[in-house]
């Protein structure tokens, strides 16, 4: 009898009790997020193999670059992207196109702006998008457009992406002097001849990416690519000296195929070390075959500070049409003395320091500030220094009506 009353009492209480009340005042929140990144860089180099003077002469150059990147996520599906920047270039070798030492020919400005949009289909793990943009400097203008597609599986352990980027370039000079592109600029003593009857260059880049999580501490990425360029691939103001002491404007083939394959392995070891290893093999029909190795060892000194020493080693074979100053024969169809296409090895050690407090008040979060320095040395004597500062922050904004508190 007693058990019967206990059972009835429990049943009655279960019908009367509720774990949670239905909250009719609840509203789904929509959050938009804006990620902003500001990059400031300084680059300086010097060498004695300027292509403007046929493979000899100063290559003293400084670049002051500033760039911003804004990713605006309106919700979990749509993202708008804008990036742009300004590069101020001071080049001693450019001054030797006409052998007139002046600040007007020594200094150039390159400005660029790109915009893109991407849309995600979360159920299927698909993201697709498009982008477009342009860049302008006094001897070069470029319009670009591209498409990209990626798919990630439900456990986020595998991702495949493909991107096609196209560049339509114009090599005529005069864009920043009066606003109209005029003509190709040749070395001053060679302007009596019209060396090229075309001034456009077209480039197509197809980049694939395969990302795979191996375990909780390791992930691998494979990046095969294919690139094709056609049109005016020579630089109109590069000189080439021949064995008979004559000189001409650089002349390269009108087609170039490139096949790079990169592999990256990132490993988290212990509680503080992350090793980033990267290897790339590259081939093109100009005759260049190269290998690149990049090693980084990030050490997390604390939850906020990370120090990353790194080293990059690179080696390439010479392009078939490259020869040193004065070594070309006049019977050759294609010729260049641009040492960027010569056989060389390079080494680039450096270090970066990153401070990431992820702190802030209200909707704005200061994500991180990073300072990076690299020293670059090439076996033909080139030395360069690069310093980069990156600042990033995120702003989150709530969209739609706010919740009404449900006070009893």
């Amino acid at each position: 009898m007693k058990k019967r009353y206990i059972a009835i009492g429990l049943l009655a209480s279960s019908l009367a009790s509720f774990g949670q009340r239905s909250d009719s005042t609840y509203r789904k929140k929509k959050l938009s997020a804006t990620d902003v990144q500001i990059i400031m860089s300084y680059y300086t180099q010097d060498n004695d193999h300027s292509a403007v003077t046929g493979g000899t002469g100063t290559e003293d150059l400084q670049v002051y670059a500033t760039q911003f990147t804004v990713d605006y996520q309106t919700d979990s599906l749509n993202t708008f992207h804008v990036d742009g920047g300004l590069d101020i270039i001071s080049s001693a070798s450019t001054d030797n196109i006409d052998y007139v030492q002046s600040s007007a020919s020594k200094t150039d400005v390159r400005s660029h702006l790109n915009a893109g949009y991407s849309r995600s289909i979360r159920r299927k793990g698909i993201t697709a998008g498009a982008n477009t943009g342009f860049s302008i400097e006094s001897d070069y203008s470029s319009f670009n457009t591209g498409l990209f597609f990626s798919k990630i599986n439900s456990s986020q352990s595998r991702e495949i992406s493909i991107a096609l980027q196209m560049f339509f370039d114009d090599l005529r000079w005069g864009r920043l002097h009066g606003g109209k592109p005029e003509k190709l600029i040749y070395p001053v003593e060679l302007r009596s001849v019209e060396w090229f009857d075309h001034y456009r260059r077209t480039s197509y880049n197809l980049d694939l990416s395969f990302y795979r999580v191996i375990n909780r501490r390791m992930a691998i990425g494979v990046y095969p690519g294919l690139a094709y360029q056609s049109g005016l691939l020579s630089t109109p103001f590069h000189r080439v000296y021949f064995s008979d002491r004559s000189k001409r404007v650089e002349n390269l083939p009108g087609d170039r195929f490139k096949i790079p394959i990169g592999v990256q392995l990132n490993t988290f070891i212990g509680g503080r070390w992350i090793f980033r290893t990267y290897y790339r093999v590259y081939w093109d029909n100009f005759g260049i075959f190269s290998n690149t190795i990049n090693l980084e060892a990030a050490y997390k000194m604390s939850g906020r500070f990370t120090v990353t020493p790194f080293i990059r080693i690179y080696g390439q074979t010479s392009a078939d049409d490259f020869k040193n100053y004065g070594d070309h024969d006049v019977s050759e169809e294609f010729y260049t003395s641009d040492y960027d296409l010569s056989r060389f090895e390079s080494i680039k050690p450096g270090v970066s320091v990153r401070f990431a407090p992820y702190s802030g008040s209200g909707p704005t979060t200061f994500n991180a500030i990073e300072l990076r320095y690299a020293f670059y040395r090439r076996s033909d004597g080139m030395e360069a220094h690069t310093a980069t500062l990156v600042i990033s922050y995120t702003k989150v904004k709530q969209k739609g009506p706010r919740n009404i508190s449900n006070k009893p």
Partner: protein, 72 residues
């Protein structure tokens, strides 16, 4: 010889990729770290542009492809 090198790399990658562990979302604390990001995040991008100007090779996981500049 070069084709053999590329082939060996692809075989090693495919063998490594088959021995993979399933990682649940709450086990991704190491994978989600900033330094584990694939590609060339943050301050590395500007140096990739320098490489495109001063070297013959581009692409293959680099943030800078061919074209759009008076570079290689």
């Amino acid at each position: 010889m070069r084709i053999r090198s590329i082939y060996k790399i692809l075989v090693i990658i495919s063998l490594g990729a088959t021995a993979c562990e399933s990682v649940r979302p709450y086990q991704r604390v190491y994978l989600n770290d900033y330094e584990m990001k694939p590609g060339q995040p943050g301050s590395r991008k500007f140096e990739e542009q320098v490489h495109a100007y001063r070297e013959g090779a581009t692409g293959g996981g680099s943030s800078k492809g061919s074209g759009g500049c008076g570079c290689n």
